[in-house]
Symmetry: D2
Subunit: 426 residues, 4 copies
């Protein structure tokens, strides 16, 4: 909520600025900051606002994104404290002048009020697991369109409270882990000592060519093919200097043969592997895994290194990720993307990390290429600037920031009775 409010406050201040004397000469047609709403609203993707005459704002084209895609969410997760949060908010690029000069949120003095709205949101939430272990939940950007992990503040708080802190960095090694390592760890000066790859028999069989409905049927042949996918993720983690531990998240449909197949392949590769039965047995089911993590972390003192250096050229950073982690042959840029990169360099933002927006369904940028695709080209369509969050976003493929509802929305089935019992949610 605070993220939505702060985001939309900036939008309101922008339109109010346009309505006023507009000393900076902010061009209504070049405003890039949109509004957000926590609703699936396809009809708000592309709108015109400010209609109705001189007292009703300035007519311009804009739109709404879904709240979770807000740059404010990324800023929240990459700030160490309120002062830095406020500074980053001031750095948000909101658009360009008639002369094509950049305009930042600080230019219209928005950052103070925006940061004030985050006063409570900046504090991590402490919750507990069923077994009573503490867990900190704070911030949730998706790794396909944003940087994918929780806040630096939460991680640092954890580090002051416990000997070991585990961070979930969703969407596999080339998205979640890459962004955790290259963006969050570089910004937060964090040095992880171990990395766990969560694997499932079902997912690897899927990558081996089995249809979703048939994933419950034992199929060691398909599993064997799909192991190529796991191997790529193992290699990816190793590129960051870490020794990955493979955690097999056990499902009841898994057979001993299948489980053995994964274990054996890991052994062949010299990679530690543990069966994780936490879903079934709670903490007891993860003891073996925890032991391996402990050993690995102990063995590593300064092993972690990011994949790229911030001072590399923009194209080199993108191409390194695409070829090293995705397995692409090379990278192609549209004319628009080239113009964007040129502008980024002109704005002095060339040294920002890159946060590639890409489908999570494939190692490549094509969701239909399963397993370990090879011989493909990654196409960068455009490169957006998140100057506040502190990264740029090369868009690989088509990424939608505002979903639509299905023809028959589930809302039609949701109901509540007089006692407050809600039905129809699933």
């Amino acid at each position: 909520m605070a993220v939505e409010r702060a985001h939309n406050l900036l939008a309101a201040l922008i339109d109010n600025y346009l309505q006023g004397k507009n000393e900076i000469g902010l061009d209504p047609r070049r405003v890039t900051w949109k509004r957000v709403i926590d609703m699936n609203e396809r009809a708000l993707r592309d709108i015109i606002i400010g209609l109705g005459g001189p007292k009703q704002g300035v007519p311009r084209e804009t739109g709404f994104d879904i709240t979770s895609a807000s740059e404010i969410m990324a800023i929240l997760c990459l700030s160490h404290n309120l002062t830095e949060l406020k500074e980053k908010m001031g750095n948000i690029l909101i658009g360009f002048t008639y002369d094509d000069k950049p305009v930042y949120a600080r230019d219209i003095k928005a950052q103070g009020a925006m940061a004030a709205l985050m006063k409570y949101a900046i504090m991590p939430n402490l919750v507990q697991t069923i077994e009573g272990n503490p867990a900190i939940i704070h911030g949730g950007p998706f790794a396909n369109i944003a940087q994918g992990t929780n806040s630096i503040i939460a991680t640092k708080m954890g580090l002051t409270l416990a000997d070991y802190v585990v961070t979930e960095a969703g969407f596999a090694s080339e998205l979640g882990a890459e962004k955790f390592f290259d963006i969050k760890c570089q910004y937060g000066r964090l040095k992880p000592n171990a990395a766990v790859i969560v694997a499932t028999v079902r997912a690897l069989k899927y990558h081996g060519g089995v249809k979703i409905k048939e994933l419950g049927t034992p199929n060691t042949e398909a599993l064997s093919r799909g192991l190529a996918n796991l191997e790529k993720h193992i290699e990816n983690i190793q590129k960051f200097g870490l020794s990955p531990i493979v955690s097999i998240n056990k499902f009841i449909s898994d057979t001993p043969d299948e489980l053995d197949l994964i274990k054996n392949r890991c052994s062949e590769l010299g990679v530690k592997v543990a069966l994780c039965e936490a879903w079934e047995k709670g903490g007891d089911g993860a003891v073996e895994l925890a032991q391996l993590v402990f050993e690995t972390a102990q063995a590593c003192s300064v092993c972690f290194k990011p994949l790229y250096s911030l001072d590399w050229e923009m194209e080199k950073k993108i191409e390194t990720i695409a070829t090293e982690l995705y397995g692409a042959d090379h990278v192609e840029y549209t004319v628009e993307a080239k113009v964007d990169i040129k502008k980024i360099n002109q704005l002095g933002l060339g040294n920002l990390p890159v946060c590639i927006a890409k489908t999570q369904k494939s190692l490549s940028d094509d969701q239909y290429k399963l397993n370990r695709p090879k011989g493909f080209t990654v196409k960068i369509r455009e490169v957006e600037i998140a100057a506040g969050a502190g990264f740029v976003i090369p868009i690989a493929g088509t990424i939608m920031r505002m979903p639509g509802l299905p023809q028959v929305p589930s809302a039609e089935f949701i109901d509540i009775d007089n006692e407050g019992n809600i039905s129809g949610l699933f």
Copy 2:
């Protein structure tokens, strides 16, 4: 928040319905349900959505109101329980078909999911005063544009917990009290036993012609003139069958002469009056007032009667309020308002109570007519339908549902430091 979410969920479901097969034939140009946002956003008053091609919704003109103007807020405050809330939500008029037939929220099956979002919002908030007395806060529609008082649920809960329940019905006798008596009391079958009119020396001097900056200067002459305003409010309360008690809310600039002037006039009129010094002395300062309220309530068994009966003709209800309470000579309707009333009757909604939208700055519909204006005409510009809340809204004068920010918004001065201290709020 829940109000905003439920409101915008309905809007999203409407546009999703338009995007689908639209079996009902809902005309995008005749959709009257807008969106709401809790922000001063003049640029969102008049917008076009659904642009960008067949996959991005249906192009149509619409806008955002401020959240507090939402019909959902009125529904929340006029429902007895979740079942009734859901039913009222289903009754919301969302627009008309190509053939000009009405379409309600229930026609697109929206009410269940909307009500589910209100699961927690329907429960009143219990807070305490500085002296530890319980107070229930629940719902806050403004009395100039909506029905002006808190929820029926909160009042009923109070009645089961205490001997006496006091309801604040803001914006004077002709707005707050009128809507409390005629709408909330009729819907909630509430029978108030007493009514307190809060008067101040300063406000009455203002109605007597004193400028705001000079209200601190003693001026019995102007106060004497301004008492005509108080007298009208006394008469208005008496029209509902109740004996009003005047509570003089004491300010430090008030002189004994001025206070006496009010007291004496009340005595001449046979109206009970008490000095209220609660601001200065807490509960002790309101003992005299409380005693009068107690006595009055005891003396009344079935004294309350609403000003009008629901089965009256729409025009008669409007004219009765305007002439009896506002002091108008008569009521004029624009062509649009006449068409609206005709449509309301066709829709079978002619027996709903009326919730006139009018400036709170004057007893008339002209904010510049102070004191007790006479010989004026009330002009009804249009009549909106809040079929869910269960009233119609005759608009007297120009009422703005979405404010704008000033040229220099206060957000520019708001700041927060690293310890979370916010400055610049006032």
Copy 3:
């Protein structure tokens, strides 16, 4: 065509100016100049242009009027030569700056190119009647929304070529004649010597209460009632210092009794009257009328005087026309109209003649008030500025500048065969 081209050239130059540096600070939201098209296009009444990014113009709300409503048409008809035409084109008010200062066509150097497009259009067209008499046709603004008569150039050309020049000034004495006398004659320094009122038995019976389908049935009673309408037009012409001649345009359904009724009433009033049978007999049928016109014109040397003086206050001009010619009791102005008049005076345009836009179906501004309405109020909704043409346009009632097509447009029935024969036109 030239009118449409010149009109739309100015519009294109305005949007091109907005796209450029816009040194003047022309506010896109305050541009009042629209585009025109010679097509019934309701969907173009209210549009948004300039969408699609910084290279595609500036987004703004505007619309299309039908070509005949163009101010260029009025300018063409009120200019004496190309130089004056060009000057008037330069005087067109195109909108206002962000600071609410007026902007004229000359400020963006549009008048030269616009006038160049009128090079041939400024020359009157000479045609001949069936009997071979010369007639000049040049310019055709409607008298309900514009100034209603042909060009000054055409009239002046006629005056150099013939002893007597007749001008058609359509839509009766209070619209066509009033605007001919007060606008065209004052601008062209023309001094008409005679005025003919064309009356028909059918129209007067209609004003007497007969339905259109029954106008063919003899009805002296209704005709007698309807003569009040003719009397008002006679009085109106007399107010301009001229002695009107009533020409009864004979229809085959007219009876001798009906014709006598009109003649006798005119005689009682001391007004000359002639039966005109030109439709049936050609020039021979109009000899009597021509003789009366000749006599009247000879008898008058300097009898003509306009109804008002240009230096009167704007309201006085409007009210004089409304009370003297329409027969109204008084004139009411909306808040918008008052603001418009104030702005007109501020712009130094207070001494322009007024060209009231009003229905031609009634002497009043209400098309349903037939015959000689009395005791009514004329309501001025707004006042537009035609600074190029050189008049202001008070709008009385609702005037539509862009008609729509009917549900089944006649275009569906129009066809052409291979020989070029067109069918379905009527």
Copy 4:
């Protein structure tokens, strides 16, 4: 003018149809027919119409093209008579239904009225040259965005009146000639007997690398390089079965050496060549050329053959033109273009000729590739349907159908004096 009127009449009928019952279910978002205006109007490229409520049309996105890009112009040029013209107008694809079914102009009965507007426009204009020779001018679509030559009616009329008819088919062999041969000749069953390639020393030097400002300087070296461009056009004409005659259009800056260079190369290639001095000497300067054309035409009886057959697959037609005439290696299609071709085949329009929209500045689709480019790929961005004209339009590169005015439009300098003398045109 008639083209503009007929085009916009169809647009008005479409919006009127949407405003009515819309029995067909034409989707406002899928209407592809735009409006045209004969003005450089960038602000009209992308607009929204139908705003302002249910009586003002249906809101939808659309735009204006410049009149010369109208499909009506192409239809006029490809029809043999009024009946065929009307039929082709009925075949215009105006959009799609909500169910994605095609809707044609005939479905809303527009063709009759549209054709009626063309009654006079269908007749060719006969003009004469300075020497008194007859020339027929009729229709003028550009060959970069349309089919590039004058009307079939004009050519057929010429063939009945003279022994030899010459058609100008502008924009070189791969655009003007290709479309003349493959579209106009196939539709009009015309069999040209000879083809003249107009070459200039200046243009060939330009293709040889000389800058425009230096084209007046003798430079046989560059000319020699640029001859490769001429050779490609010679080869292209030969692919249609014709023996091209090269006409060197002599400029005063040409040197004998340069002229000889061209002549000699043509001789080496066995191609007839003549110096044309018509600019300097009138008809006498073209006698040699005329003689060669006469001889060539006599020598050919049935030599002409189109490049492709209409029943080929769409991609094969496109690729044949691109590889054979442009000299491309192969053709790439965007996803959109592939979808378009699929739809064209579904609509049964796969057997239409192709009218590729491409820059006229290069043999390739990249205006910066001069001379005779090799080893390039032609990219088809989308494929438009001109079902009325009877061809499809593969778009190679970015083609703009509505130009904008320059920052300082020439209109600012145009003026006219009182005698009608126009200045500032050049």
